[in-house]
């Protein structure tokens, strides 16, 4: 077992796959010689060669476009989009093409590609370096959307994504790159090396794509979370001293509905938390599913704790970020409700 940050774990996943399988290529803006603005691909070009890890023009649509062509032609490209906020020029290639190729050709052609991109706020990135656009992708049939919350999962899920025969969008919560983050930005930050989930096996292993992970176990409440919010939820549960299931969903599409339903049927209360803007966020889908499947078990209205329906502001970053205060209030409300 090695100790790895999430950056190292992600890099290691690519390294393992590139070593195993020459069909795996890695490319994107600044990912080659420099190793990516978040260093996730550092060293891969030197190790595997210029033609296996390289820079692309600043053209997200082009990046995903070539990835589709390569994937259809038997390779397993891993494309990086520098920030999820910049994925929209590639939206058409992702939604209309990568996600539809198998269907419209009835399996004649497929697009087994992986798109990695950092999401979420917490680094003073403002409107264009902080977005969490997962809900814009979970609506797209034919696509899978995955989001890890720790180094162990990041590596295992990324290897699964690369090996999957369908296109996978792999969202990386950038605020978790170096350590867990519970939303308290004034606390000194702790690195992954001192966290048990920073323990990452060497070599090849996988984490399955449609399985949630239980972070804490309890009876009074279910909190559904993913990405950075997993750590906000864990902190709130600990600080409030409540007995709660915190589920790290890990995969949003497909979703581990069984785990969700089992937990909510047990607890009767459900809070959903995500960093993305509220309206039409993935929390809406989760809330709908929970009430469809657990209606007769619910003792209080499902609560959504989210970012506001505004762009992600710069100076007001922590007023936007759904931190412990916002979640605590929701938990109190739901626990009080009859």
């Amino acid at each position: 077992m090695a100790k790895m940050s999430m950056i190292e774990a992600i890099r290691d996943a690519m390294d393992v796959k590139m070593t195993e399988d020459r069909d795996v290529l890695v490319f994107g803006e600044d990912v080659g010689y420099f190793g990516g603005v978040f260093r996730c691909t550092a060293g891969l070009q030197e190790k595997h060669g210029l033609h296996r890890c390289f820079d692309t023009p600043i053209s997200e649509g082009g990046i995903v476009g070539i990835a589709i062509g390569m994937a259809a032609n038997g390779l397993r490209p891993v494309a990086e989009i520098q920030f999820a906020d910049y994925i929209y020029p590639a939206y058409d290639q992702i939604a209309s093409e990568a996600s539809r190729l198998r269907y419209r050709s009835n399996g004649d052609f497929t697009a087994p590609l992986t798109i990695r991109t950092p999401v979420g706020g917490g680094i003073y990135g403002g409107t264009t370096h902080s977005q969490s656009p997962e809900a814009l992708f979970t609506h797209i049939s034919g696509l899978k959307t995955v989001i890890p919350s720790n180094p162990y999962d990041a590596k295992g899920l990324l290897i699964s994504a690369i090996e999957d025969n369908d296109p996978v969008l792999f969202l990386e919560p950038k605020r978790l790159y170096n350590g867990p983050f519970d939303g308290d930005h004034q606390k000194p930050s702790v690195g992954w090396k001192s966290h048990e989930l920073g323990e990452v096996p060497e070599g090849h292993y996988t984490v399955p794509l449609a399985k949630a992970r239980k972070i804490t176990e309890g009876n009074d409440l279910t909190i559904l979370a993913y990405g950075t919010m997993v750590w906000v939820a864990e902190a709130v549960v600990k600080n409030m001293g409540i007995s709660a299931d915190v589920l790290d969903l890990r995969s949003l599409l497909p979703l581990d509905l069984d785990a969700i339903v089992e937990s909510v049927k047990k607890t009767g209360r459900c809070v959903i938390i995500h960093e993305a803007t509220r309206t039409s966020g993935f929390g809406g889908e989760l809330s709908a599913l929970v009430q469809e499947h657990c209606f007769y078990y619910l003792e209080a209205p499902i609560q959504r704790v989210t970012g506001w329906d505004t762009p992600y502001p710069h100076a007001q970053e922590w007023a936007f970020f759904p931190g412990q205060k916002r979640l605590t209030r929701a938990v109190k409300t739901i626990m009080k409700a009859a």
Partner: protein, 425 residues
Amino acid sequence: MGQSAENKARAERNLSNQSKLFVPEPQFRPGDTPDYSHISIPTNHSPNRPDPLCDAHDTVEHALKLIRVLRFNGETEGEWKPDLSADKMREGLRHMMRTRAMDERMFTMQRQGKMSFYMKSTGEEAVSVGHAMALRDDDMTFPTYRQQGILIARGASMKEMMCQVLSNSGDPLDGKSIPVLYSFKKHGFFSISGNLATQLIQGVGWAMAEAYKNTDGIASVFTGEGATAEGDFHYALNFASTYRAPCIINVVNNQWAISSFQGIAAGRGETFAARGTGYGLATLRVDGNDMLAVYAATKWAAERARNGGGATIIEHYTYRKEGHSTSDDPSKYRPENEGDVWPFGDPVERLKNHLIHIEEWTQEKHDALAEELKKEVRETFKAAEAMGSVANSTQLPDNTMFEQVYETEPDHLLRQREMFKGEIG
């Protein structure tokens, strides 16, 4: 400007009808008598034929000229004349005629309600057939909906094609896609997208994969002139240039994009081939109604790509003789006879004339072939129709719609399958 000044300016604009905004218009509209005498058809036809591995810069002039081989009198001329046997030319003629015969029949059948939609390639058969014949059969093509000639030239089953447009039980796509959005991997024919231009950059990616795998395969990608305005066109040219991808980028300039004339996409650009100049790509412009010229230009570009010379953009200059699709009525926006007076003639006629000129063909044989193909098409269609159509039943089970969304059906789709089962009782 303050609010009141703005209001005043607006009021003034509302009074005047002056505007300097320029909007391009075609020369001729319904009611006009089209006159194309200004389009010069050079008698000594074409620019020179440089070495296929020349510097891209050596083809700058080619982007502004027009490669031609077939003269109207049946003669051939110029450096680009390909080395094609009479047999091969007759084969090309047959492919073009077969494509046209199928298009004709499908159009009529659509009008009779047998299928929801159809798109003809009439007048543009030389582009797809000439191009396909100059490629290797395993070179992957990324066509638009107007290159069915590639499938015909590569020997795809016409019945399978017809079943696709009928969306019936013989449709390899199980009715998932609308008519003419074929996918035939086995014939090097990429699944056609309904979204214009998207496949251009995918084809470049395919070509990069060929280079990566160290094969000598190439990719050939297509767009209409109208769709060159999409970002994907730019991506394709740019990435092809940066990574020297072994591919051919074809712009089929058939003068029309539904109701918009080519000037809307071209703007003040002189030609579509010239778009490649600034990217350092080789650029050719070819008479798209001249099958031999299309063949020759494609051969050149394929040789260049296969030997590491990188990508070529080819503009195929042609004319869309019919409506955009069965949903379109071109008489609403262009003169009815524009196609007839189009100065570059008909690709079938031109190759026929050449073959007759060199005494390898006769009008009688031509008529007989046309008759034979008509019959073949009619009979093939009958067999295809027996497998279903939207007119009565497609004979396709509805729940194939849940298949091939993913490799394996995830839980939520299985649940929806169940819901659907409940619904149909």
